[in-house]
Structure formats: C-alpha cells, structure tokens
C-alpha cells in the first residue's frame, strides 16, 4: 500500500515538474510523457521497486482515462462545422496514413527477419492500446508486445511529431492535429491538445478514424505482407 502511494506520488511529482518546465520553456524535448516516464523509471530503479509493484498505482492513475477519452467528443462537437466541410480530406488522409503505418512497420519488421508473432504485433502500433490489443489477438500476435509498441510509437510521436511537422512546413492546425492523432493515438492527441484546441480536436478525430481504418485494413496488410 505504501509502495503504491509512493509510486503515485513519484508519478504526480514527475508530471507536475516536467509540465511546469514545458509550460515555462516550451521546448519539445521537455516532453511530459517521455521525460516524466523516464524520471519515474529512474526513481523505481534507484529505489529497487520492481515494475510489478508499480502496476497497482498505474491502475489507479489510469482509471479516468476512459471517461477522459469520451470527453474528446466535446472539442469534436465544437469543431463540427469545420469537420463536415473538410470530411473528404480528413477521411482520405487518415486512411492513407493508417495503411502506410501498417505496411511500413510490418514490412521493415519482416525484412529484418523478426518472428511472425512480433511482426503481427507491430502492425497496429499507431492506434490506441485497446484497438492494438484487439487487432494483435485476431491475427495471433502478442497483446502485451503490441501494447509496448503502441507506447513506444506514442512516446516517439509526442516527442518529435510537432518538431518534424514544423520542419516539413506543415502549419495548418487541422493537418498537424490529424497527423499527430493518426501516427501516435492518445499520446499524439494529448500533445496536440497542448498545441491548441483545434489541433487536439482533429487529433482525437484522427485517433478514432485511424483505429477504425487500421482494424478495417489489417486483413489487407496481413495478406500483402504474407502473414496469414
């Protein structure tokens, strides 16, 4: 119990600290997820607390993620007219992105000679964990590994996504939000929300659409990559 409280305290402190630093300096390397989790992992290792002892704290802290995700309907509703006007662009871009993510991840993993269950587990790495686990299971992947790839991709996207888009001169807030949400799901959406409300709303929409597209196109990717 006291370990759980300690773990919650550590995580809250890491979050609050990195967030304050980010809001003060706005530097992309002051990434709340990557740096925050890095600090927590370092503290757990230093205090010899195994990951298993962190899990109860993790469960408590993520209890509100479900209702928070449902809350994404609010910014979506505020931007409903923009959403309707740009519907073809949104659908086309996100579907292309979801297929490209699966084929490039699976293709490289297969060429690199990874075992088939690992290749299947990497396919849904761009979507949120509940989606990825479901898809991995359907095609005989490893759900826990699929979840790990999702987190790795999300952390990467929230760390470098905004910077990379700026480098590529993508300035349109809708385009930035959609790209972040398609590639790195909830973490990308959370990062986009820190950029602005429109970016956040579009990222949330992209996350949902990318999840549906990935589930829908997964049979095609499995077939094309010869994983069936």
């Amino acid at each position: 119990m006291s370990t759980t409280l300690l773990c919650i305290g550590l995580t809250l402190a890491a979050y609050a600290g990195v967030r304050a630093l980010y809001l003060r300096y706005r530097h992309p390397l002051l990434n709340v997820v990557a740096l925050g989790a890095g600090l927590v992992i370092a503290a757990l290792l230093a205090l010899h607390i195994p990951y298993a002892d962190y899990v109860p704290a993790q469960k408590i802290m993520t209890a509100l993620l479900g209702p928070a995700t449902v809350g994404l309907a609010v910014p979506l509703y505020r931007y409903r007219s923009l959403l309707l006007r740009a519907a073809p662009a949104i659908l086309g871009s996100v579907a292309l992105g979801a297929v490209l993510a699966m084929l490039s991840a699976g293709g490289i993993a297969k060429l690199g000679g990874l075992p088939q269950d690992v290749v299947v587990s990497i396919l849904p790495k761009g979507v949120s964990i509940p989606f990825a686990v479901e898809i991995a299971q359907i095609y005989h992947g490893i759900p826990a590994l699929a979840a790990a790839f999702v987190v790795a991709t999300g952390t990467l996207g929230s760390l470098f996504g905004g910077w990379l888009l700026t480098l590529a001169r993508v300035r349109d807030p809708m385009a930035r939000g959609l790209a972040l949400g398609t590639v790195s799901h909830g973490q990308g959406t959370a990062t986009a929300l820190m950029e602005g409300e429109q970016q956040g709303a579009m990222a949330g929409l992209a996350m949902i659409l990318a999840g549906i597209c990935t589930a829908g196109f997964a049979p095609l990717a499995v077939l094309l990559l010869g994983l069936g």
């Binding site: 925050g36 809350g71 994404l72 309907a73 992105g97 490209l100 690199g112 990379l164 993508v170 385009a175």
Partner: protein, 120 residues
C-alpha cells in the same frame, strides 16, 4: 465549491457513457474498444441535443487539459520490455521510427494540400 460539485457530476456522466459503451461493445462482441464507441456516442448525443454542451464541458475540458498525464504511468510499462527491444533493437527502432515518420508527413502534407485547394 459548486464548481467542484458540478465537475464531479459531469465526470459521473462521462464515466456512465464510458461504462455503457464498454458494456455495449462486450454485449455485441464488437472488435472496437469501448472508449471509441463512447466518443461517437457522446458526439451523437451532443449533435441530437440530448446532452447539452454545458452538461459535460467543465469536466471534459479539465480532463483533456491533463490528458497527457495518463500516459506517464502507461509509458513506465516500457521498462518491462527492455529485453525485446535489446534483442531486436535496430530492426524495431527502424520499423517504429520510419512507420511513424512516413504517415506523419503523408497525413500532414496531404491534409494541408487538400485544405489549401478547398479554400482556394
């Protein structure tokens, strides 16, 4: 105080929609996560006027402001998978990085292009 109570009430409503959606997905055996159905459901209820924006926006905005927090404890889970990442490190790194960069630029670039054309 009233604001806090209001936020808690709204949170309960969001939670109820989430739980209802999760139950529905399980009941129908859909291959879709409950939270995704929850977003679609709440969006539909807002569009239909069944749920007013004022019933949920206080709690939703507060949760979304700190949405990134939830991913800190989740990302701590990566410490468990160090072995797999060491064993297949280079290939996995390449696969994860390229499959993030390509779609990121494709989606961002294509949307910006299509939006510019729509406005022109």
């Amino acid at each position: 105080m009233t604001q806090t109570l209001k936020a808690l009430g709204q949170l309960a409503l969001l939670w109820a929609i989430y739980l209802g959606s999760t139950w529905l997905v399980g009941f129908l055996g859909l291959p879709i996560p409950g939270n995704v159905v929850g977003v679609v459901l709440l969006f539909s209820l807002l569009c239909l006027g069944v749920v007013k924006l004022e019933y949920v926006e206080l709690a939703a905005d507060l949760l979304l402001k700190h949405l990134v927090f939830f991913f800190v404890p989740i990302a701590v889970g990566l410490m468990e998978w160090g072995g797999v990442f060491r064993e297949y490190g280079l290939t996995l790194a390449l696969a994860i990085v390229l499959s993030a960069v390509l779609p990121l630029l494709a989606v961002g670039g294509l949307t910006q292009l299509l939006n510019a054309r729509r406005r022109a």
